[in-house]
């Protein structure tokens, strides 16, 4: 994944939570690169640590209990983790913005929707309240909401419209990087497509890079350039969309694709991945996916597995790939 033109990178990020005297290993050494305008899909089950990665980037993890233990997050060469809170605030909502999973709860219920957009504009540009209001109205129109609904409250909006407002807030300051945390999961299927199309359009218009967090490979297929599959806080497979979709190598990725019902064949059974994700307070010593893996051997249980390069050039955290030609450690 050496990419000289990357403007944003996460290096070996480790995040832990502390709850009831136990340590939850949420993110265990994740590294990512992004070029301007590029879209990366972060795919994994609930609890795999996807949202934690996004919140770590903005440093908005809950104060108590969550800690970024090690690793680096760089934006245009600046290490975000070493910035002061004051400087970090200038990044949030301005250079990096986030779209949240549940539009129903992501908006302040007692503040006018327009004001919620104007607030972010006002914070990051030295403009008057009136100008911020103008900009907010412009943003509303852009996400397809008539500007005269500026003065309404979130409870007067439908779920899809609320998500449009959340997107308007996220894009109001033309961020370089957009973190979209399952932006369509809480929406009706018909609205999902609209919202995705809109994100795509706006992203293209402003050349915004995006990390799309999802568990839906369909969304990845439509929106993303690259894909990282996350399991138990680790990237298990990382490559371009084409590479991953055409040659899924990690048994977990293979399992994810198999779990999608095939409409062309008359199948009687779905093919779920057997077993449950590991307890993040007590991860297995070797491969985290080992206990569920059909190909697991004694070797898998012994030590942590590194990322190996596959035949077509993407990386995969499995020792059973390329049995013929061994790829190098990355």
């Amino acid at each position: 994944m050496e990419n000289p033109k990357s403007f944003f990178e996460i290096n070996d990020l480790v995040v832990e939570y502390y709850a009831d005297g136990e340590v939850v290993h949420a993110v265990n050494g994740v590294s990512l690169r992004l070029r301007p305008g590029q879209s990366l899909g972060l795919v994994g089950e609930t609890g795999a640590g996807k949202t934690t990665i996004a919140k770590s980037v903005l440093r908005i993890l809950p104060d108590r209990g969550a800690r970024i233990c090690s690793g680096g997050i760089k934006l245009n060469g600046t290490d975000l983790l070493s910035l002061s809170e004051h400087d970090m605030r200038k990044i949030r909502g301005n250079d990096i913005a986030m779209i949240f999973q549940d539009p129903m709860t992501a908006l302040n219920p007692v503040q006018r929707v327009g004001d919620q957009i104007a607030e972010v504009v006002k914070i990051h540009s030295e403009c008057s309240s009136l100008e911020a209001e103008e900009k907010a109205k412009e943003m509303l129109e852009m996400v397809g909401i008539p500007a005269d609904r500026y003065k309404e409250y979130p409870h007067q909006f439908s779920g899809g419209m609320k998500q449009r407002v959340v997107i308007a807030i996220a894009l109001a300051c033309n961020p370089h990087l957009l973190l979209a945390d399952e932006p369509t999961t809480a929406l009706d299927v018909t609205i999902q497509a609209q919202v995705l199309d809109m994100i795509e359009d706006l992203k293209r218009k402003y050349n915004t890079a995006m990390i799309m967090i999802t568990h839906d490979l369909g969304i990845v297929a439509t929106v993303c350039d690259e894909v990282a599959i996350i399991y138990a806080g680790e990237i298990v497979e990382y490559g371009t969309k084409e590479e991953i979709f055409e040659h899924p190598s990690h048994p977990y990725t293979v399992g994810l694709f198999d779990a999608i019902p095939n409409m062309n064949e008359d199948e009687e059974w779905l093919h779920p991945i057997e077993g449950m994700p590991p307890d993040p307070t007590n991860l297995p010593a070797g491969c985290a996916f080992g206990p569920r893996c059909p190909r697991a051997t004694a070797e898998c249980r012994e030590k942590k597995i590194g990322l190996n390069r596959t035949e077509d050039g993407h990386v995969c955290r499995c020792i059973h790939i390329n049995k013929t030609a061994q790829g190098g450690e990355v």
Binding site: Y17, A19, D20, V24, A26, T46, G47, A48, G49, K50, T51, T52, K55, P62, R64, G65, G233, P277, D279, P280, T281
Partner: protein, 289 residues
């Protein structure tokens, strides 16, 4: 966030609550103090060094000493013994009145919560009216009408808790009523009474227990307040409020007189509140961590 609660231990809820409670030092201390007080109250004749009503005019209004741990009152009675015996009245009234009020409230609340409709509407409007009368005033008026005995005072004190208990139980029953397993009991033809007794009540219980714990505390204060305005149980009964009220007259020269009963009330209320807080946190872990 998504990782955080992905694994939740399954465990009997009673055991979980007990474990949470025992982990909470304040709550444990609270319940120990309260139980110790009850034991002392029960054993008062054995523990108390003097007869609480035995007068000794020569030794009146003496400050605390080895002979009289909390001093003596204006009639030479031993204050420590009076406070010990007073626990019988104060705690007794607090517990009985809260139990009575909660019981009445629970009956009303479960009828409303279960049947809903017109019955519910009428009873709730009646409670609106009762609650528009300031609680203190209502208790004072009822106490004035009923008279000054122990039972009369308990009844008067219990009245202020009825409406609150009824609303609480009704609200949590309305919540529980929506749940699927109640529907399941309907579908297998459980009788209404059975549903109330076996399903709705146990599930509406936890907020009730918390409010009863706090209720005992506030009732003890209310009982003392009644004595303070000359109602409730009367001297020479060694109820805390009435000792305090007499002690008030000697406040300038003999401050210790009003300290002892006041401290007794405060420690009791504090211990109940500590326990109640811990219980609420244990039953509703939402606010923790």
């Amino acid at each position: 966030m998504s990782v955080k609660k992905s694994v939740k231990r399954k465990d009997g809820s009673f055991r979980r609550v007990m474990r949470q409670l025992l982990k909470n030092k304040a709550a444990t201390a609270g319940i120990i103090i309260f139980i110790a007080e009850i034991i002392l109250a029960v054993l008062a004749p054995l523990v108390a060094p003097y007869d609480p009503n035995e007068m000794d005019i020569i030794h009146k209004l003496q400050g605390p000493s080895i002979q009289h741990l909390m001093g003596t009152d204006d009639l030479g009675r031993d204050l420590f013994s009076r406070v010990l015996y007073g626990a019988r009245y104060s705690l007794g009234m607090g517990i009985c009145a809260t139990a009575l009020g909660s019981l009445a409230g629970m009956i009303i609340g479960s009828v409303c919560g279960y049947f809903g409709g017109k019955v519910d509407y009428l009873v709730m409007r009646f409670l609106d009216i009762v609650q528009a009368i300031p609680g203190t005033l209502l208790v004072i008026v009822v106490a004035a009408v009923l008279g000054t005995g122990f039972i009369e005072t308990v009844v008067a004190l219990s009245i202020s808790g009825i409406a609150g208990a009824a609303r609480l139980l009704r609200a949590s029953m309305l919540n529980v009523r929506q749940l699927e397993y109640i529907e399941a009991s309907h579908s297998i033809n459980c009788s209404k009474m059975r549903i109330i007794l076996h399903h709705l009540l146990p599930n509406s219980f936890s907020p009730m227990i918390v409010s009863m714990t706090m209720g005992i505390a506030s009732t003890i204060v209310a009982a003392a307040a009644l004595s303070f305005v000359g109602l409730g149980v009367q001297p020479p009964t060694p109820e805390w409020g009435s000792i305090l009220n007499t002690g008030r007259n000697f406040m300038r020269e003999h401050a210790y007189y009003m300290l002892a009963p006041g401290l007794a009330i405060m420690v009791t209320v504090l211990s109940l509140n500590m326990f109640g807080d811990g219980l609420r946190d244990a039953l509703d872990p939402k606010l923790k961590n």
